[in-house]
Amino acid sequence: MLLASSFFSNEFKEVSSVNPTVIEALNVAAIGLPAMFGVIILFVALGQALLKLFPEKSNSAK
């Protein structure tokens, strides 16, 4: 994420006409989108781990 952020900062700093706010916005997207997927993937893993660790006890054994 930091790499992506620095990529956008460095790329756009070279183009003087680009509004600094646009560079900040690109930074938000460059960090935010991968972070978004990262957190969601973490929650996917968490959910699956919890399902494995605490499976629903079957009612079939009567």
């Binding site: 989108l33 959910g47 399902l51």
Partner: protein, 369 residues
């Protein structure tokens, strides 16, 4: 006599425009039933605050007091999150983990709109607040706007709630433009039911709060309140609190939130070019959200053996359950045997979680600038 004329003398064309907007919102709520629980109080609040010399607003006006107590302090959105959490069921999402990814993909509109708003000249805090309309989540929009751009709170709230109610109109054309009939007809059989134990349903909200909170502490109020509401529901031992959160708390705070937001729609604050731009960008956010979800699903299909109906991707927004319903209906229109409602609901619940995470992340990132 002068005292009786003061209201008439204070009227200007701007007040009449705002009365028109207030009436429009009330009309949409009552006649069209578009998000009536919110648009009705917002519309009436807009009338109350635009009557010249209105006693409802001003330093001692009850709506101004409510604004300071519930919006400026962020109390109302946080309480709404408790209510929303108590209504959420994360089980469909846990049963089908791939669906959770759509909760991230369909937040694409947020980031695209932030960039777009920055191009149009908004500063980064305003741009971030405008982008959050793409979360398709009213309380998240209000929470982020209050922190970053309180001066845009009124148009942002109206845009968020209006476009949420317009999901059945906004999403179908975008989906149709990005998918073929064959893709929209992809059958998604209901998988073997994976039971989710009570322990998982209790531990999930606690663990999510801790993880999200540690990653972005600024999101604790958002995620924490949502998960607290969910824990109240899932633990099963505080049925009264669960019911109160889902009904009394949700109804009361929605009512106060709506009329208070409406009362911020004064002519001076609302009738300007920025408001028109915010309303325009709100629709862009929803379009890009839908496109992001659909295209992500199409991308996933390149690698998956069992194909996903790409329309499911569009359900990754937070507008629950409207988006799931719209997509399920579209799937049935393409193929009468295509019942994808359970998958759609799973993606839609992920969207609720995703929107809050996005709000927290945007706050955390923008705070760093």
């Amino acid at each position: 006599m002068d005292q009786l004329m003061i209201g008439f003398l204070g009227l200007s064309w701007k007040h009449f425009v705002m009365f028109g907007i207030g009436f429009l919102l009330i009309y949409l709520a009552i006649a069209k039933e578009y998000e009536p629980v919110l648009l009705l109080p917002i519309g009436f609040g807009a009338l109350l605050c635009n009557i010249p010399f209105s006693s409802a607003v001003g330093p001692e006006g009850p709506l101004t007091i409510l604004h300071h107590a519930g919006i400026v302090t962020e109390l109302f959105p946080c309480l709404i999150f408790v209510a929303v959490g108590a209504m959420c069921d994360f089980s469909p999402m846990l049963k089908n983990p791939v669906l959770m990814l759509f909760g991230a993909a369909a937040q694409f509109g947020i980031f695209a709109t932030i960039i777009f708003a920055a191009f149009l000249g908004f500063d980064i805090k305003e741009a971030a607040s405008i982008g959050i309309i793409g979360a398709a989540d009213g309380p998240t929009t209000i929470y982020v706007a209050t922190k970053l751009a309180p001066e845009l709170l009124a148009p942002l709230s109206v845009a968020a709630y209006s476009y949420m109610s317009l999901v059945p109109i906004i999403q179908p054309p975008v989906i149709k433009a990005l998918t073929t009939k064959k893709e929209r007809s992809i059958l998604m059989p209901v998988k073997e039911d994976v039971p989710v134990s009570r322990m998982v349903r209790i531990l999930f909200p606690i663990a999510v709060t801790l993880i999200a909170g540690i990653i972005a502490p600024i999101s604790v109020a958002l995620v924490g309140m949502l998960m607290f509401g969910n824990l109240i529901k899932e633990c099963g031992v505080v049925e009264r609190l669960s019911r109160a959160s889902q009904e009394e708390l949700a109804n009361l705070v929605t009512l106060l939130l709506g009329i208070t937001i409406g009362a911020t729609m004064t002519a001076e604050q609302f009738l300007n070019v920025k408001t028109i731009m915010v309303m325009g960008m709100g629709i862009i956010a929803f379009v890009f959200d839908t496109a992001g979800g659909v295209l992500f699903a199409k991308g996933l299909n390149l690698f998956l053996k069992e194909k996903i109906n790409p329309m499911i991707g569009a359900c990754g927004i937070s507008a629950f359950p409207m988006s799931a319903r719209v997509i399920a209906k579209m799937a049935l229109a393409e193929n009468k045997r295509n019942y994808i409602i359970m998958h759609a609901v799973g993606a839609n619940v992920s969207g609720q979680l995703g929107s809050i995470i996005a709000g927290g992340l945007v706050l955390a990132i923008v705070a760093g600038f």
